[in-house]
């Protein structure tokens, strides 16, 4: 479970996140929806402890990201925006390296890597060096790397960026499966179809603050719009930055 309380963050004179509070439950997929520059990435970065909030706090399974960042990190798998992998290592080595950094023993991380390679259907390129990987292969590797330590909570920042249709469908299946296994899945997107197709809960962020949250159905009811896209536009007050 992920909980954010009154997060705030400036970069110089720009307020990236003004006041963000929400909750993402276990066994559900929560979508962070908002136009470009709304503060989705900054919110996620605070959650996965790469940057610290100026005020407010967030917790992963009840553990404060400000107070106990190392402990919080153990409980989440993270796929940052445009996550890169090491070009001179094979996919398997890339994944296994993160296993080592998560403190897994050699045997454990090897068997877990094998498991993930089969789960994500990576057999074909698992032992090639990552230099010539396609975007889809890179994302799969980065995703497997994020899941190496069986995290209860999974955070993904724009995971479908640059993926083709087949890869997107594969990713959706995976996220659904994680949800069904009881994981808490939180991902950000500015693509409506994706959020509509996948999310159990939606948190709409605009101008650095949460403007609405609830199930897709609740959002439609709340705005009186039949379709999620219209509901969204109504909520953020403009259609700018959507696709």
């Amino acid at each position: 479970m992920i909980e954010a309380n009154n997060l705030q963050k400036h970069f110089g004179r720009v307020t990236a996140v003004r006041d963000v509070s929400f909750r993402a439950e276990d066994g559900r997929i929560t979508g962070l929806l908002g136009p470009n520059g709304a503060g989705k990435s900054t919110t996620l970065r605070i959650l996965y402890t790469v940057i610290a909030p100026e005020t407010g706090d967030a917790s992963i399974d009840g553990i404060s990201v400000v107070g106990q960042p190392l402990e919080a990190r153990r409980r989440m798998g993270v796929l940052p925006h445009n996550a890169g992998i090491y070009p001179h290592l094979s996919a398997r080595e890339n994944i296994s390296y993160f296993g080592a950094l998560h403190g897994l023993g050699r045997k454990e991380r090897e068997s877990r890597t094998v498991e993930l390679i089969s789960l994500l259907e990576m057999e074909e390129f698992a032992d090639r060096t990552a230099k010539g990987f396609s975007q889809g292969q890179r994302v799969k590797t980065a995703l497997a790397r994020a899941l190496i330590h069986r995290p209860r909570n999974v955070l993904l920042d724009e995971p479908t960026n640059g993926l083709d249709v087949m890869a997107v469908r594969g990713l959706r299946r995976l996220l659904a499966r994680l949800r069904d296994e009881g994981h808490c899945v939180l991902f950000s997107s500015h693509v409506m179809q994706e959020v509509g197709a996948l999310c159990d809960d939606v948190v709409v962020i605009a101008h650095g603050t949460v403007v609405a949250s609830g199930t897709p159905q609740e959002l439609r009811t709340q705005t009186g719009e039949d379709n999620l896209e219209d509901a969204f536009v109504r909520l953020i007050g403009t259609g700018e930055g959507l696709s």
């Binding site: 402890t49 796929l79 001179h88 060096t129």
Partner: protein, 392 residues
Amino acid sequence: MRAILSVFRKEFRENLRDRRTLISALVFGPLFGPLLFGAALSLSIERGTSEADKQVTLAVAHAERAPNLLTHLRQYRVKVESVAYDDAAAREAVKEHRKHLVLMVTDDFSSRFQASQPAQLLLYVDSSDANNSKEVSRIRTLLNQYGSLLARLRVMTRGIDPLVLSPIVIHDVDVSTPASRSVLTLGTLSYLMLLTMLMGGMYLAIDATAGERERGSLEPLLTVPVRREHLIYGKILATCAFMTLSLSLTVSAFATVLQFAGLERFGMSVNFGPSVALAVIVLCLPLVPLGAALMTIVAAFTRSYREAQTYLGLVLLVPTLPLVFASVLGLRPTAGLMTVPSLSQHFLITSLLRDEPIPGSFLALSVGVTLAVGAVLVFIAGRLYHREALLG
């Protein structure tokens, strides 16, 4: 600690597979530096020694008329070749470059000599031929030398102090003594070693921050449950390993090259056997963490790989500054100077190569201060990895 080792292993393996890192760390510096150095050195030695030592062949016509003179010339490594030229033949031979120069002993040489009158020698030369000007001047010097030797003997037999013939005496003060030349040469040597050592770790240092950021792998890395300073320590450790490899290769290459360069002919007694090479490596080792941390810190402030490369190119010059000061100011090793990293290594290496004794206190100061500065820099690098600006 386990995380540091994991990072170290991964960085080391990854960079072993990176052709650019490998070439710059293990091929370029370690091979080209010593080879260039050796080539330049043997060339300058060649030029410096060739003229003085080379045997000069002198064609002499009517050598039988001046046997003592020829004995004198032979003593100074002049090979006398008797020829049966007359005046015209001698001119012809020199003009056609069949002989560089011809010495003709005139027929009244002996009689004039015995009468203590100036006895004539004819030296046929082609002054337009620059190639043998040194040969000519050497023969001329030897002949003059012989003349003044005889003059002294003559005044002595007349009971006069030969010193009256030397109203003035000129001493050449050649600033470029063999000793000073060797200081310069050995300075270059230690400089090249330190430079190569730094170059060996450059790409790893860039990779640690600017490279990771540019590839987008930094942010995922920061989400693992490992303290950030431990991540950077692992990276610095890998940088150190590459620098050490680079250093060892360079020193070995220098040791090999200098065997063939023939420094001793230059008046330098350089002992650079395997044990000295090992000692040089050990002396440089304390500088490894300092250099690695310094490069990592500088790379952490840059915004891109390219920018990091530019700045690190400048950082590579930093260890040269003390060396430049030392040679310009003619500094000699003192306890105070032993507290300057890179300069102290330079002095110690130089002393080692010249077989001079190294005081234990100098050694302790050099190692101690260098390691301490290195530790501080490693700590600073660890702190820098906590900055949010690192993410760019």
